[in-house]
């Protein structure tokens, strides 16, 4: 087996991970990535509640994902690689022939994702780029599944786009600076049958995000909702409205939740 990174740069911990890798892939112990096999770097965001919620959403929708028979899947902002590795493992076990792309603006994250994928015996093509720049022309309308855990933390705008780990969380005003750039990029890449799964925080005003996507022709549904002490997370799935039956009613069914978002958002901003 060929290893794409220099063995001399491995620390003992990583070598342990690589040893256990063979065991993991031969026994198929798990249907998602295993934390102990996820690589790490001081400048790369480690899997956390938001990552787990996103993977839970994909697991909850796994049957639909397999039935859809995606050709290309992509993660925008792959960080540690935990999410794209999990997606590749769960679809591969369902005999999917999908190919995977993963991008990150942080070169350390790109390399960390490569190590995480290798430790799990799965593959994604990794590109170090801003969102999906460089892929938009040729991959337009070809990606069936896009997953995004965006930098959603409200920060001063000037922290957005900083180098290193800051790029994984700094979201500017309302945490929307990067999210609002991602939406048209996703719209360009998604195929007619394509789905987007995105993490949002209540402070991001997810109802407004759904409205913006709605204007581009997408219906939406909350797949996972999770509150921690610090934040309330929603994993939202988007799809082009004409491709699914009854999608109009599913959009309307979101309204009670949208008003929930508004009220809880108001509470937060009142603090």
């Amino acid at each position: 087996m060929d290893h794409s990174f220099d063995a001399n740069s491995l620390n003992p911990d990583m070598i342990d991970k690589k040893r256990s890798n063979k065991l993991a892939s031969s026994k198929m112990l798990s249907n998602i990535a295993q934390i102990r096999l996820v690589s790490n770097h001081p400048e790369v965001y480690e899997p956390c509640d938001d990552s787990f919620a996103l993977v839970d959403a994909l697991l909850a929708d796994r049957t639909n994902l397999l039935n859809m028979q995606p050709r290309f899947c992509m993660e925008v902002g792959c960080g540690s690689g935990y999410v794209i590795a999990s997606l590749a493992i769960m679809l591969h076990q369902g005999c999917s022939a999908a190919q995977y792309f993963a991008t990150d603006i942080n070169p350390h994250a790109a390399e960390t994702t490569a190590a995480t994928l290798e430790a799990h015996g799965v593959h994604a093509e990794i590109i170090c780029t801003d969102l999906a720049l460089g892929l938009g022309k040729r991959l337009a309308g070809m990606v069936d599944v896009i997953v995004v855990n965006p930098p959603y933390v409200p920060t001063p705008d000037d922290e957005v786009g900083c180098e290193g780990i800051t790029s994984s969380w700094a979201g500017g005003e309302n945490g929307r600076k990067v999210i609002d750039r991602i939406l048209p990029v996703v719209h360009n890449l998604l195929s007619e049958k394509g789905w987007l799964y995105m993490v949002t925080l209540t402070a991001n005003n997810p109802s407004q995000i759904c409205s913006m996507m709605r204007e581009m022709g997408y219906a939406s549904r909350i797949v996972v909702q999770r509150s921690t002490e610090e934040e309330s997370l929603h994993i939202i799935k988007f799809w082009r409205e004409h491709t699914e039956k009854g999608s109009r009613s599913s959009w309307l069914s979101q309204f009670p939740l949208l008003s929930f978002w508004r009220s809880s958002g108001a509470k937060e901003s009142g603090i």
């Binding site: 060929d2 794409s4 070169p107 170090c128 780029t129 720049l133 022309k137």
Partner: protein, 125 residues
């Protein structure tokens, strides 16, 4: 980086109109076996820029792997050998070190440890 990815990448420097295909300058590459899936290959075939794929394979010395002209898609349904060559070129050749050069500006994007880096400088955005 597989040749599939090379086939999908273009230069996105502001103002560049002819940023495809990027010229592949590989210093190190490997071949790795990948599960063969005829349905995937036939599905993706119409989306592949054939001259770019042939060009990238030739730049690595795979001169006779693929025909110059894009085959008719009906041939892919009947010619298993051709489909396997297409599979090999698209998915089994991995460029580990090298660069991608924009045909218009000559800007070189490095490939390190199999990862192309398309990040732009401030004056290129």
């Amino acid at each position: 980086m597989r040749l599939l990815t090379h086939n999908m990448l273009s230069c996105n420097i502001k103002g560049v109109t002819n940023g495809y295909p990027l010229r592949l300058e590989a210093e190190k590459w490997t071949e790795k076996e990948v599960d063969f899936n005829a349905k995937f290959l036939r599905g993706i075939f119409p989306k592949i820029d054939w001259p770019a794929l042939v060009g990238s394979a030739r730049s690595l010395g795979f001169n006779d792997l693929l025909p110059d002209e894009a085959p008719d898609s009906s041939l892919l349904a009947s010619d298993d050998d051709l489909l396997r060559r297409f599979h090999h070129a698209l998915l089994e050749i991995h460029v580990e070190e090298g660069g991608l050069v924009c045909p218009e500006t000559g800007r070189r994007f490095p490939i390190n440890k199999g990862i192309p880096n398309l990040l732009l400088h401030e004056d290129e955005v």
